[in-house]
Amino acid sequence: MAKINVNVDGVGHEEEVEPRLLLVHFLRDRLGKVGTPVGCDTGNCGACTISMNGKSVKSCSVLAVQADGAHLVTVEGLASNGDRHPLQKAFHEEHGLQCGYCTPGMLMAALDLLKENPDPAEEDIRAGLEGNLCRCTGYVNIVRAVQRAAREMAGERP
């Protein structure tokens, strides 16, 4: 067992974990953070994407021990002071989700994308979300949603 210290959605946790424990299972089974789902187990679908020290990672491809000392943000920590993040509002408004299983990962990947490129063209959004699968929407409304969020974050009217 190894001891890790992590900050998840603003709360510090000190936990003993087996070295082989995946970060996503640590989040879900140990901390009860089930807002981050598991879709494929093989790093393909991106449903489990979270932010680790400001970068998006697929939490099924990270060991919990690798997160020692890290600042993690999951979809559950995306809103601040009860205000939903512009990405959350935009995915809702633009119907960027149906079953919603990919949405937590999409949001966290899009967050990283907009940090790197606050004014992305459609091609940039598509390139940035390539690692996240959605089976319901055909992605068109997801592109719209990210564009809308980018406008709102730039201070424009959505």
Binding site: G32, K33, V34, G35, T36, P37, V38, G39, C40, D41, T42, G43, N44, C45, A47, T74, V75, E76, L78, A79, R84, L87, Q88, K89, F91, H92, E93, E94, H95, L97, Q98, C99, G100, Y101, C102, T103, P104, L107, E122, E123, I125, R126, A127, L129, E130, G131, N132, L133, C134, R135, C136, T137, G138, Y139, V140, N141, I142, V143
Partner: protein, 763 residues
């Protein structure tokens, strides 16, 4: 006291305005964007056990013995069950009860459940399952569906023969005579691979034993009552002792119409007296649900030189795998819609659904119609080319219009004329030509893998037409049930809508609220979680829930409104001048009383297909979508980039524009997947690619932007005139894309998915 798990579905508040026709937001949207929406995989109860399923590694084998003693002795294990432990009837199935809950004496497909383990930790359960000793006598699997159907010497998968259903359709004049009068005849054999629904949330659920000897089941499914009707007999319980609640569903697309872990978890919970959760991982999910039937289809068409089709003949063989599931209905769709929405004077179709030892196949979006559509649209292109006609013009010449009969004799009614839909599609602006100089790698096939600078890249354009039946067909008395309650809460009129209908992502929760708001003029609408405390809503499949549960909510609201008006008149001595006035006075009129009405909604009757001729008004409603695909193909490497997809679809009435567009985009994307990449590869009955690493579904880079033109030709028999919309786009996008690749490459391409080696000629 019954235990209630953490993370169960809750009531959903709907945004405060917006009725039918508006792009209202999903009532479950806030939960879904904040990570609070409770999927079936999130269910949790303190002290619960974890169940795992031991599955057969062989597609066909006799079971000589099963020894569970070592598994049972494993620390942490609380139960190990085999078919001997099934408390009631040992078989289940949607149409035929041919599937054992756990294998009895033999296995018929790779992945068939053989035994169950419950333990205090999922890894403990998996380890224990590995200690179950099953002595198999491995047999040669029956994997050739055509042989299984027609070779009398072929062994039988089940005792009563390998053909699940043969449905002929014979229309108009004699085909042999018509063939003699044809100027041009074309024939071809087409194949469709096995497609997987690939919903993102794998099968999972929780069973909680009840004090009355019953069980509470929290599951993600498409039709709770159909589950119930299959589960209760197998558990040896009356239906009222199986209480079902819909857990959050991570996509379905037909893959949750059959049972997966429901009976298994309930058996383990009843045996151990503890709650049991089962969660499949992605690999197990590939074995845990039925897939889209693979098909082999031989077609022959004849036409006159001026472009009129004179006959069509088709033999469609659908491999249903080891168990029947919905194979009979898949055959019915393939037969009745086997030549598409075209006017052809002589038609003969023979559709067969066959048992083999391949993976079981059943419902997936557009079933039966999808496979046939790839064949008949490929034939339309083939014939147009043989006649030297433009493919759109050729389709317009032969299009069946309102008033014309389909192959089954059923007359098209109240829908957009196909020729006009095609005209609108062709007139839509084309995407810009590829910029040969200074091009962006991302715009080329192969993308930033830098596989080409455009030397071998050719552009192609293709068209596809698809027709799908909406709602259940062939005489099934299809209905849905809705309960609507009106009361005053906090001084404000509030409506609760309660159905058992499965919200699988399609947006039914939004629509139910919109309908309630429109019909009752009330702003506050709450959607109750789906459970079996209200009557059946039927399945969230066949594009039917807007029509059926939408219809049930509408008639229940009308009953509530009638009582609301009566009460108004009783209390105020005059009828209300308007709905708005009635609602305005509701707090004083209704007081502490509650208006609570439950209604069933049935669609008009349909007929069974004649077993010899297939003739019948078998379908409730028909819907057409047409697609245009523009592709760039690297003809040297076989890589395809779909540049743009355009679609024209008639939906009768647009209930929620953005939600509808999402259905068309998503349906189109699944058709793109079938055209280009999606196939469960099976060799000797064994699945070779059960993972998202090896089974590819379209990414955001594979799926292009879309142009949509949505038409509203109202169907007067349907609520609001609406037409089911979820499936038709899945049909027509596939042949459109393949036609575009043919246009770019000049290749025949008779099989989907089209793989790079089919284009580059390396296979």
């Amino acid at each position: 006291m019954t235990m209630t798990p953490a993370k169960v579905p809750r009531e959903l508040d709907s945004p405060l305005d917006g009725g039918v026709g508006e792009s209202r937001r999903r009532p479950d949207g806030t939960l879904k964007v904040t990570g609070e929406f409770a999927y079936s995989s999130d269910l949790w109860l303190e002290g619960m056990l974890w169940g795992v399923t031991l599955r057969s590694p062989h597609p066909r084998a006799r079971i000589r013995s099963i020894d569970v003693s070592e598994a049972l002795a494993h620390p942490g294990v609380e139960a190990v069950l085999t078919h001997e432990d099934v408390p009631g009837f040992k078989f289940y199935g949607l149409e035929h009860k041919d599937q054992p809950v756990l294998a009895i004496d033999q296995v018929r497909y790779q992945g068939e459940p053989v035994a169950l383990v419950a333990a205090d930790h999922p890894e403990v359960a998996r380890r224990a399952a590995a200690k179950i000793k099953v002595d198999y006598e491995v047999l040669t699997p029956i994997t050739d569906a055509r042989r299984a159907a027609f070779d009398p010497d072929c062994e039988k998968v089940h005792e009563d023969g390998n053909v699940v259903r043969h449905q002929p359709v014979i229309f108009g004049g004699d085909v042999a005579e018509a063939r003699a009068g044809a100027d041009v005849i074309v024939s071809e054999t087409f194949e469709v691979g096995i497609q997987d629904q690939a919903f993102l949330g794998p099968e999972s659920g929780l069973a909680v034993p009840g004090e009355d000897g019953g069980v509470d089941l929290y599951v993600a499914t498409q039709w709770m009552h159909s589950d119930l009707w299959q589960i209760a007999p197998c558990l040896g319980l009356p239906e009222e002792k199986v209480r079902m609640t819909m857990a959050g569903v991570g996509g379905a697309f037909g893959g949750r119409e059959d049972l997966s872990m429901q009976i298994h978890a309930a058996m383990l919970a009843m045996r151990t007296g503890k709650p049991v959760k089962i969660v499949y991982n992605r690999e197990e999910s590939f074995f845990g649900h039925v897939h889209r039937h693979p098909a082999r289809m031989r077609y022959e068409y004849g036409a006159t030189r001026d472009g009129k089709l004179v006959f069509a003949e088709a033999e469609i063989i659908l491999d249903g795998g080891a168990y029947a599931s919905s194979t009979p209905n898949v055959v019915g769709n393939a037969a009745s819609l086997g030549v598409g929405p075209y006017k052809i004077p002589s038609i003969r179709v023979d559709a067969y659904g066959v048992y083999t030892n391949n993976p079981p196949c059943g419902a997936m979006r557009g079933f039966g119609a999808v496979q046939a559509c790839f064949a008949y649209e490929s034939m339309m292109d083939r014939m147009a080319a043989a006649l030297g006609l433009d493919p759109v013009t050729f389709r317009q010449i032969n299009a069946a219009h309102p008033g014309d009969a389909l192959a089954t004799g059923q007359v098209l009614e109240h829908m957009a004329p196909l020729a006009e839909m095609l005209g609108r599609l062709k007139a839509m602006p084309m995407p810009p030509e590829r910029d040969a100089a200074g091009h962006d790698l991302r715009e080329l096939p192969g993308g930033v893998s830098n596989t080409t600078h455009g030397e071998g890249v050719r552009r192609g354009v293709g068209y596809g037409v698809g027709i799908k039946n909406i709602c259940f067909s062939e005489g099934f008395d299809d209905y849905s049930t809705a309960r609507v309650r009106l009361s005053i809460i906090g001084g404000e009129p509030t409506v609760l809508v309660h159905t058992s209908a499965a919200e699988v992502g399609q947006g039914l929760v939004t629509l139910k609220a919109q309908i309630a708001r429109s019909e009752l003029g009330v702003r506050r609408v709450t959607i109750a979680p789906a459970d079996n405390q209200v009557g059946s809503a039927g399945s969230s499949s066949a594009s039917r829930q807007s029509y059926m549960t939408g219809g049930a909510v509408k008639v229940a609201c009308e009953a509530v409104r009638e009582r609301m008006f009566k009460l108004f008149e009783e209390r105020l001595g005059r009828p209300p001048a308007s709905l708005a006035e009635a609602v305005e006075h509701l707090p004083e009129v209704l007081g502490d009383e509650v208006i609570d009405e439950t209604r069933e909604f049935h669609h008009h009757r349909t007929e069974r297909m004649d077993p010899v001729t297939g003739q019948a008004n078998s379908h409730t409603q028909l819907a057409i979508c047409v697609h245009r695909a523009v592709v760039d193909v690297d003809v040297e490497l076989g890589l395809v980039k779909v540049v743009e997809l355009a679609a024209v679809q008639d939906v009768g009435k647009i209930m929620n524009p953005l939600s509808l567009e999402g259905q068309i985009h998503g349906g189109t994307a699944q058709g793109l997947g079938l055209a280009l990449m999606e196939e469960i590869v099976v060799a000797d009955g064994k699945v070779r690619n059960p993972s998202f690493t090896d089974y590819l579904i379209p990414t955001i880079l594979d799926m292009p932007p879309m142009r949509l033109d949505i038409l509203e030709y109202a169907d007067p028999r349907a609520p609001y005139g609406l037409r089911g919309a979820g499936e038709p786009p899945t049909l027509s996008s596939t042949p459109a894309i393949v036609a575009a690749i043919r246009d770019a490459s000049g290749l025949a391409l008779t099989r989907v998915p089209v793989r790079p080696e089919h284009i580059a000629g390396s296979s």
